[in-house]
Symmetry: C2
Subunit: 217 residues, 2 copies
Amino acid sequence: MKIIAARKLLKANDQLAEENRARLDAAGVFCVNVVGSPGAGKTTLLEALFATVAGRVKPAVIEGDIAGSLDAERIAKLGVPVVQINTEGACHLDANMIAAALGSLDYDAVDVLFIENVGNLVCTAGFDLGEHLRIVVLSTSEGDDKAAKYPAIFQGSDALVITKADLLPHTNFNADRITADMKRLAPNAEIFQVAALRGDGIVATADWLVQKLSSGR
Amino acid sequence: MKIIAARKLLKANDQLAEENRARLDAAGVFCVNVVGSPGAGKTTLLEALFATVAGRVKPAVIEGDIAGSLDAERIAKLGVPVVQINTEGACHLDANMIAAALGSLDYDAVDVLFIENVGNLVCTAGFDLGEHLRIVVLSTSEGDDKAAKYPAIFQGSDALVITKADLLPHTNFNADRITADMKRLAPNAEIFQVAALRGDGIVATADWLVQKLSSGR
C-alpha cells in the first residue's frame, strides 16, 4: 500500500481525465469510479465483489479518503493491490490525484481498477476521473428520497447499487420509489440490490461488471 | 414555506457569520447548525425533538438542500416555520445564504432556529453560519469509523447525536469506538444516542438543547 498526498490541480480536470482514460485503455485496464455517501458500504461492496470474482479478474483499488488509510488496510488484507490517496480535507478525488496514483500501479497485474471515492453524495458528481463506468452506492438506511434530493450524482452514474438490503425489514425504505427516481434520472442505468455482508445480489453485480469489463476494453 | 435560491458569496463567510450571530443575538434567537451525511436522520431527529419540546420553546427551521423541498414539507406539516434554501448544486450552506433566509423569519415567533445543512460530512465543516451550537448527526448504519475518516466535522461540533440506535442489533456499529474517537477530537462535546422514530434518547437530547438555549442567550 502506498500513500499519496493530494497536490493542487495542475491541469484542467477534464483534460487530465481523458489522459487517464487513454493511459488505462493503452494498458488494458478497465476503471470503475465508486461513489456514495459516507457509510454507504462502498468498501464492503468491494470486499464482497473481490471474493466473487477471484480467479476471473485481477482487481486493484485506489482509495480516496480525507484522512487515514482504514479502507486501504481492509483491501490490502485481501491481497488486492491498493493505493491510498489522502485528500487532506478535499471533498472529492480529481483526475490529477488519479494521474499521480496511476504511476504506482503495476498494469500487468491488473484487469479492473476500482476507485473508491471520498464519501460524498455531492462533490464527487462533478469530477470525471478517467473511469469507464461510475457506480453510485446507496444504502437502504439512508432513505429512498436520496435520488430526488441529490440528483446530479445519480444522473451521471451507470449503475445504482442499493446496499444493506438486510436492513430493509427494519427501515421504511421503498425500493420502488428510488427505482422510479433512478429510471427518470438515468434511464439506462442498471439497478442492483445487495446485502454484501451475507452475499445477496453480489453475483449478479459481479457478472454485470465482468461483462462490462469484457466488452469495454 | 419560502424558497430562496442561493446567490454567490458577496462577503467573506466568517464576517457574514458574525453578522448573522449578532442579528440572532439581538433578536434573542438561539441558533443550531445540524450537519451530517445524507440519510443520517437529521430531519427525523428534528421532527422528534419538536414533538418533545412543544410548548416549551418555539422552533423554526432553515432547510438546506441541493434541490427540492422534501424536508421543508415535512417540517411545515408540524406547524413549524420553515425557510427552504436551494443551493442549486452547492455542497454546503454558507453564511450569505443564511443571511438571506434570516430576512424571512418572524423573530417574535421563534426561540430556537435549527439550520439543517446539506447532507455532507466534509464540506459543511468549513463554514460558520452564525450559529451558537453545531450538532453532528451520525447514524449507526454509517459505521463507527466515521470520526476517524472525517475528523474535521466531528472536531468542530458541540454534540454528536448517534441516530438509528434501533438498528444497532443489525449492524456491527461499536459505540465505544466512535465515543473514543469523539472524546479525542472534541473532548467537551456531548454524545447522545437516539432512536428518533420510537423516541429513545430524545428527551435527554431535548433537555440539553433547552438548557443550552436558556444559558446561551
